[in-house]
Symmetry: C2
């Protein structure tokens, strides 16, 4: 990871000084770096001995950072990782363009790597992420959207990059397709679990991690906890959700009331339980690999995706 | 071009219907399609007989459309090609994400093409475009910025894609590096000429093309006409430019006054003259190729970039 971090700082360079300045704001803020870690560990799991996984892990983090920059513009968020978002500091314009730069730079690094298979996996993931983000935009504020639509959306907007990040580790190690697919499954399941927990955390589940509670609520984002509560709720509660999330007429006590309703219907705990079952699926996908420190680390990482906040 | 157009419509498909809907709004609006035409003609000029140039021309148009979508968000423009911009219709969110989708889809198509050289040229161009857009953001509202900085910026934000589009034509035809470079020079020069004329048109040069006059002025964008007028102007005029473009305190008659000052200093005609000299440079770069219909079309296209509005 040290090599990945220094490569990231190196490849952020540009004649245009605002670019590294703005990108560093986000990248230096730390974050969990889960996605590049996936690439590194998957490569190790597959017995890879070279150095290509370092640059590809940096690519994965660049793509992730680009989507975060665009996401915050789209969400009009003010906080990310406990710090001001780039758009809160620089306005909307620079983050859109710096995101584009990071995205292009990631592709340049993949081209330097030279594997068309890697390029295929990561360009497809990027397109799927964008589709997932648009899906989220379309289903936001729609209290009649379904659990299936929600799972499809998070599989795209979040899990696709986890999946690609892990899969790429098998590709550099030149492993058979079955290993690639097992790692893709592992990554996808960890990604879904991660997003489910994220959505639960937004309603104050577990410990606070510098995340503002209630962001999703204030934006009218329909996540799994809400969908479960709507399905299990009274018609009075449904009217409450429609007012808050669709017509977006929120009053001061509404977030508190929402959290109360979610707990009453076990919606948050059930969301965490779904995450646990994706976590188990992820670990199961690693069964075909012999035990090793990398395998143990991936098993731990799957647990961390679910239990990080508890 | 018919093949390119139907491929574009085909590859806009997505399960998420807002994506083709929004992208079609812009792509179907027509536009001049200069960049994909460059790829097609460059390939023909190089004697290419296959079909790869069609998909790559579509990639070039996708990258261009993605930058337009992000550009309009950044500029907060309401009109593009005489129609409402996507952000004016859908808000800022969807155009950012659909731009990302188009960009990723373009890379998927390049990966399908399978040439790392093409991927290298177009990923580098994309990064340079983003850098140029950030440069524009940084120098906007800065009346002390230089002509050199302006030319560097338009070489990046506009000419880089013209350059790459033409160069790729030589790559598919597997021509020697000298031919690639000649076509790159041709494309770059046409791109600079095109942008110079665009900047002149924004102050009402030539015929109206559905472009709103004064957009750049209202946004405080410092373009070559302004830089020439500032260099040649009185201190009273400099105070005028500072007020309008830096402190952005614009009054009703200011655009008219600005146009008057520009004409008094020949700033618009001189901008067109610079464009003509880039146009001549572009044509000169084609001298090494034998005469052919494709060569004649490229010569005409260079003229069109300058004279389209007159």
């Amino acid at each position: 990871m040290q090599k990945v971090n220094s490569l990231i700082l190196d490849r952020l360079q540009s004649e245009v000084s605002l670019i590294p300045e703005l990108a560093r704001h986000l990248i230096a803020a730390g974050g969990k770096r889960i996605r590049p870690v996936l690439t590194l560990l998957a490569a190790k799991l597959c017995g890879y001995q070279g150095e290509r996984h370092v640059a590809l892990a940096a690519c994965v983090e660049f793509i992730h950072t680009a989507t975060l920059l665009h996401d915050d513009v789209v969400d009009e968020s003010d906080l990310r990782r406990g710090r001001s978002t780039a758009n809160a500091v620089w306005g909307n314009k620079a983050p859109v363009l710096v995101g584009d730069f990071l995205f292009s730079r990631a592709f340049m690094m993949m081209v330097d790597d030279g594997s068309l298979r890697v390029l295929q996996i990561l360009s497809r993931a990027s397109a799927v992420i964008a589709e997932g983000e648009v899906e989220q935009l379309v289903t936001a504020n729609d209290t009649s959207s379904t659990e299936a639509a929600y799972l499809h959306m998070i599989a795209s907007k979040t899990a696709a990059l986890f999946e690609a990040a892990a899969q790429v580790g098998a590709v550099v190690a030149d492993r058979p397709m079955a290993d690639e697919e097992a790692l893709a499954t592992y990554g996808r399941s960890v990604g879904v679990a991660f997003q489910l927990v994220d959505d639960a955390l937004d309603y104050g589940a577990g410990k606070n991690l510098g995340k503002t509670v209630g962001d999703d609520f204030r934006e009218g984002k329909i996540t799994l906890p809400i969908l479960l509560a709507i399905a299990r709720g009274s018609s009075e509660e449904r009217a409450f959700w429609t007012r808050c999330m669709e017509t977006m007429e929120q009053e001061e006590q509404d977030l508190e009331r929402a959290i109360g309703i979610l707990h009453r219907h076990d919606a948050i705990d059930d969301t965490i339980r779904r995450a646990e079952s994706y976590c188990a699926e992820a670990k199961g996908a690693l069964a075909r690999f012999p035990d090793s420190p990398a395998r143990q680390a991936l098993l731990d990482l799957a647990d961390f995706a679910v239990h990080r906040a508890f």
